[in-house]
Amino acid sequence: MHLEPANFPYLSAILFSCVAGLLAIVFIPAENKILIKRVSASFSGMTLVLSLILFVAYDRGLGGLQFVENIPWIPSLGIHYFNAVDGFSLPNLLLTGIVFFTGVLTMWEMETRVKEYHALYFLLVTGVFGLFMSMDLFFIFVWYDVSLFPMYLLIAVWGTTRKEYGAMKLTLYLLAGSALILPAVVLLYVRSGLNTFGIVPLMQAGLFTPGEQKLAFLLLFLGFGILAGVWPFHTWSPVGHVAAPHGVSMVHAGVLMKIGAFGVLRVAIMLCPLGWIYWAKLMAVLAAIGIIYGAFVGLRQTDLKYVIGYSSVSHMGIVGLGLSTVTAEGLNGAVFQMFAHGIMTALLFSSVGYIYDRTHTKAIPELGGLSRIMPVASTYFIVAALAGIGVPGLANFWGELVVFIAAFKTYPPLGVIAVLALAVTALFMLRVVQKTFYGPRNEQFAQLPDVTFAQGVPRMILAAVLLVFGLCPALLFDVIQTASVPFMSGLPR
């Protein structure tokens, strides 16, 4: 694999601006809320800018790992502070930057315990960034947990519906996942005999016996899969989505679930390709079930956020399906879908957040006729919903398209099932749109204000991103391919 050292430590700079923001917030007196918000907005904006720079500066022709920073951390254990970016992680970094920034803006009106909220939020995102950019198993695990444990307080303190139950469930569930990841990681470390946690050295073929790979892959897949909302282990995610405050839901559905899928890709698939090939069918079946199942359960929901939660179960199923087709297209589609779904679901939650803050209800039957009252807000939601349906011209379409093509090539029957789910998804998404926004003007909320320009900014950004990548997907596919194609070509068959 090609390694391109960084001329400037952009990645550390991203982490640093997160940590710096965290410290800055910690040292601002809690009374000075507006300053805290400004600080957090500016620091998150900095990360967004940096990730954009990365996205632009990444040499697509060269491919491989770029912006490499490699510092020995615990030599005796072969742990390195090894940050790098490749075609898989770059879109996710960009995604994180966008969602982070917009998430901060979305929660601008929140006034309770602002300081703690933003501090924990920064901690959360630090973990996410770190995980996406780290190439060292130890650090990946560390970042994974760093991004998990703020969730409990974030949900339990600032959340809404059944928040303590949801928070506890989510935290325990995800830590159960990490309970499977850590042994697998250590197993790989020990069995490699190289005394290193670095992914690059561990990737060399023939390092692990097929047996080890199967075992480790299963553990890792289950561990990370829980976070990715793989079918039987998905129940934490709708509950968590619903309970969490909107900004956190955005990060949570938009980025955290991607961490799961990314972990499967980065750790499980890259280190245990044989295990991947061995378990691929299982993955595919679970993913297909998740797709159709999530859509059907979504049909029954009466809570806006529950609907979104189940839709993301379904959409993450598409990601899983892409990962399970042992092909480069599959990987491309999966990563693209991660990005697209992240943006889309963030937009959904952001709009729901606005609506909820005004109407103080998420129950679909109580809503309705909002489109007349807050046309702009509902437009944002509808755009996101359409993206979720997979309407061409918005980013999600491409991810689903490529994944379906790949899946149809590898597992025709599952591909058919997954494609059928499209109709169901359309049904329930449109149902929600109709019940929430259409219908006669709802007098109960008649005097509520519409989104002002300033409030609209985060949603505008997200919608614009959806549109841009929907119109020229090549922007992203070019990047992803630099990672997927060499990886697949180097795969032992």
């Binding site: 030599p75 560390v142 303590e164 506890m168 830590l175 159960a176 990490s178 850590l182």
Partner: protein
């Protein structure tokens, strides 16, 4: 001057005697005694640090000073110092008793140091008894006699019972192997280690130390004793004596248990049961100290994993874990002591609204609990990580998975505590909490230490490796 290798012991001996003499003199005054003790403990830390490199034998090889023991002495002295730091307003020990209190505290530390570097079964036994007895008295010293007495009796009876078991075990070992020096036991036991009598003897012998470490089934004293003893004493038991126990178990197992698969089986069972029992029982606790006691039981289970790997990596992990336990448990108790200004027991719901009443304490509590749960980037995680590496190197994957599941369970009750501190609002607004500046400083430092040692543990690991 070869006596210098015993410098720490002599120092603490004289310090203890000094308090003994004081106790015959005038009436103690809390502030002054605390200051004296603080000074003495601080100097003690320095002494131990100074004698880290000393190496050699004393008393016809009954006393052995090497890197291992000296490092642990540093830990012990550090622990004592920290404990003395939070003894500022120790209201549960009558002011009249303060001299005895500090005398016992220092004696116990001395005993633990002797225990760490004792090399002869007899000296191990005697030093263990010395430390245990000082702890019995310390526990019973609590002013509220209902608690103090009951805790004292339970601690005393189970302790002596365990020590009798241990003695019998030693007798078995001796009668089977004719060796009483740990260093020679490896050779002596090599060929007969698989005889049931020897293993039973070994296990009985370890029983005494398991009692100190509160491993199932010798853990039964822990919850009641923690709950019944004064907060500071409980803190001392939870931190310092645990460190010594880990040290002596590592040493004994390392010297005697080599190549015995049955012993490993036994240890596996005990560790699994300990962590499961500890974590499960902790879920339903209301009293914070009791909860911490059960979590101690669980942690003893984790430590055993590192020890039963019977490999240098495992011992390194155990040593590192000793330090981790010291820090984490101390931080938790620090919060507890700072909250219980009148020395009462803290119920979990009393933590309500802590995040407003004292953010720094709430933070310290959260960090220490997450560290106890083993969440990175805290020292608790690093300790577990080292131990798990050692275990998986020996192929105990299932054991590690069980341990991780236990970690998840444990997180549940830690989160309940954190929830109390951060979510719940007190029904009746309690008296405003006055946290003295030094305590705040201490809390901040320990939080920083936990996180830094978890995030950049390199040189600490080096030290642990050097010690083994």
């Amino acid at each position: 001057m070869k006596w210098m290798i015993a410098a720490p012991e002599m120092y603490y001996f004289s310090a203890a005697l000094w308090f003994l003499l004081l106790s015959f003199s005038g009436k103690p005054r809390a502030k002054r005694e605390n200051m004296t003790a603080l000074g003495l403990a601080a100097v003690g830390v320095l002494v131990c640090l100074a004698s880290v490199w000393s190496d050699g034998y004393l008393f016809i090889k009954a006393f052995r000073a090497d890197m291992f023991s000296q490092v642990f002495k540093v830990l012990l002295s550090l622990g004592l110092f920290l404990i003395v730091c939070i003894c500022g307003n120790i209201s549960e020990i009558g002011e009249r008793r303060l001299h005895d209190f500090y005398f016992l505290l220092f004696t116990c530390t001395l005993a633990l140091m002797l225990l760490v570097s004792a090399d002869h079964l007899l000296s191990i036994y005697i030093s263990l008894e010395l430390s245990s007895y000082s702890l019995y008295v310390l526990v019973a010293l609590r002013r509220d006699p209902r608690f103090g007495l009951e805790a004292g009796i339970k601690y005393f009876l189970i302790g002596t019972f365990a020590s009798a078991v241990m003695l019998f075990g030693m007798a078995l070992l001796y009668s089977a192997g004719h060796e009483t020096y740990l260093t020679k036991m490896t050779r002596a036991l090599a060929e007969i280690i698989d005889q049931p009598m020897v293993i039973i003897g070994l296990l009985f012998t370890l029983g005494g130390f398991f009692f100190k470490l509160a491993v199932f089934p010798f853990h039964f004293w822990a919850p009641d004793t923690y709950q019944g003893a004064a907060n500071q004493v409980a803190a001392y038991i939870a931190t310092v004596s645990k460190v010594a126990a880990i040290a002596v178990i590592v040493r004994v197992v390392a010297f005697t248990g080599q190549g015995s698969t049955y012993l490993v089986h036994a240890l596996v069972m005990l560790s699994v049961v300990s962590m499961t029992v500890g974590n499960l029982a902790a879920i339903v606790q209301k009293d914070l100290k009791r909860l911490l006691a059960f979590s101690t039981v669980a942690h003893s289970g984790y430590v055993l994993i590192g020890i039963l790997a019977l490999s240098p990596a495992g011992y390194t992990g155990a040593v590192f874990y000793a330090l981790a336990l010291l820090l984490m448990k101390f931080t938790a108790f620090l919060v507890l002591v700072a909250l219980a200004d009148d020395g009462r027991n803290i119920q979990i719901e009393e933590l309500a609204g802590l995040h407003r009443r004292s953010p720094i304490l709430a933070l310290a509590l959260m960090v220490s609990l997450f560290s106890l749960a083993g969440i990175p980037p805290t020292i608790g995680f690093t300790g577990k990580f080292l131990i798990f590496i050692a275990a998986i190197e020996k192929g105990y994957l299932t054991l590690v998975i069980i341990a991780m599941i236990n970690v998840v369970i444990s997180l549940y009750y830690y989160l309940l505590v954190i929830k109390a501190a951060y979510l719940l609002e007190p029904i009746t607004e309690p008296a405003p909490l006055r946290v003295s500046y030094p305590i705040r400083l201490l809390a901040g430092t320990s939080v920083a230490a936990i996180i830094l040692a978890g995030f950049a543990p390199y040189w600490l690991i080096q030290v642990a490796q050097a010690a083994v």
